[in-house]
Amino acid sequence: MGLTIALNRGRILSEVLPMMQQAGIEPSEDPESSRKLIFESRTGGHRLVVMRGSDVPTYVEYGAADVGVTGKDTIMEYGGGAHFYEQLDLGIGRCRLMTAAPADSALAQGRDVRGPLRVATKFVNVARRYFEAEGRQVTLIPLSGAMEIAPLMNLADCIVDIVDTGNTLKANGLVALETIADISSRVIVNRASMRTRFGEVQSLLSVLRDAAGNDEGGWRG
């Protein structure tokens, strides 16, 4: 039996699928046009499961999927570390996790905000850890999207969000402030699959590593 591989739906998928193809894993239908969510690979008996990026770590942690591809932002929000192995940086989907505030706000102009900072974000765990490390008391406002609106409607003083080109921020009159982390897509591996399906996981990662042009060493044995 092959591996079960959980993939992040959306933009990254079109970059990951050619990499998978180099590893001989080609879905029986095009996941980007099909309404199906589970695809058998044409060879090798692998299964590709397409889901929201934020769900990938859950499937991998519990071994429902052996391998997953998702953003570092998702992994950080999930808690990373002890849950699974995160061995390969695919170098795609690059962006930054940043704080941002309206260009005309006190924060953006280097003045401090009195009292706890109101932070709107969908990365509440990341934001909590970041501001704790900064020694800053904050009130977190969990939102599920379009964070840029929150400071404009005076719901928040700043946001924590993914910044790619910065165009969305700019269009809404926000400026990026501090970088919390550089983000890229990572391959994560279930801890037991790494042991019990070592050969299969290893050969997949080795091809993906070559495809990503990534030479971090590792993977022999």
Partner: protein, 386 residues
Amino acid sequence: MSNRNWRLPAGVGELLPPDAWSLELTRRRVLDVFRAWGFEYIEPPVVEYLDALLVGAGDDMDLQTLKALDPKSGRLLGVRADMTAQAVRVDAHSRPEPGVQRLCYAGNVVFANPLSSLDDRVPLKAGAEVFGAATLTADAEVIALMLEVLAGVDVTDPILVLGHMGIYQHLVEPLDLSPALEAELFAAVQSKAQTDIARLLDGRPETEVLVRLPGLMGERAILDEARALLSGSGPAVAGAMDALERLADLVLESAPDAQVRFDLAELTGYGYHNGPVFSAYHAQAGRALARGGRYDGIGGAFGRARPATGFDVNLNELAATVTGDVAAVWVPWMDGADPDREQAIRRLRRDGTAVVVALSVEDERPMRCTSVLISRNGEWITDPVI
């Protein structure tokens, strides 16, 4: 449905037939193996003073421990989230044997704040610890016992992963990192996130070695590669490597069929290990089935620092391979006494067969009763239900 009194807290479950028997039979089988290996059984309390429970453990254990204020003493009580510190207390204080002490235990622990939402918050754990033996033979015995426990609950062909905390610890020590950076590095190495390791170390002298360390896993051949990579890392690292290899030899002497793998960056989540560490995996389980390692000197907090090594298992996870379906014999309702029949029932029960006797004429045979006690030619025998 307006009555919600039936609700249980998140992550808290109850076991029903046949799963409850399956767990209890698992506990018995595991304890039988411990007893056969000469381990002495202890039953530490479920609740004790928090400071004692947190000895040697990191912040994680603190967050995992359910707390309550003791009105009698005014001190904080903790509900144990791990039983190792309790065994350490027994060895250091309650029963300070001068020589080697082998202890085992089984009991429920409680996770105040489970790391994962699917985790059982009140699992039944069992473990075995050896105190007072600094030699690798003690680690090897514990590992062999761990494998025997898995065999005892019908886990076939587990994969045994060996590592040594000393390799990472001796590599990182000379870097003199701030505690915050060290914690981040630990997490990055633990999750094998090589990109993050490189970023955190930012060109320090040991960067190359530490970035490659998490990739050093696999079968025995990996040790040669590791020696080449670690050749310039000092005698302490080389000593840990030697210990790892010798440990594998010792394990294979007592368990020749063990499928041994190595992982030079295996950092367990317990926070108190400081020597060889080991874990066992199976293809059917998404996580380690058993794990343990050496944690010398932790007992110092109780006034007696001793070498120590041990492991524990989550019995709820092991119970998956043990059937709790207990087939029983059905005795239909019969008016009046029959001494022969009564004796037949007694004999069956004494021999370990479950017998269910009808309590009234309306009482029907439960599905799990797969045979019936009948009288044939004046003799009471069990007859399978077709």
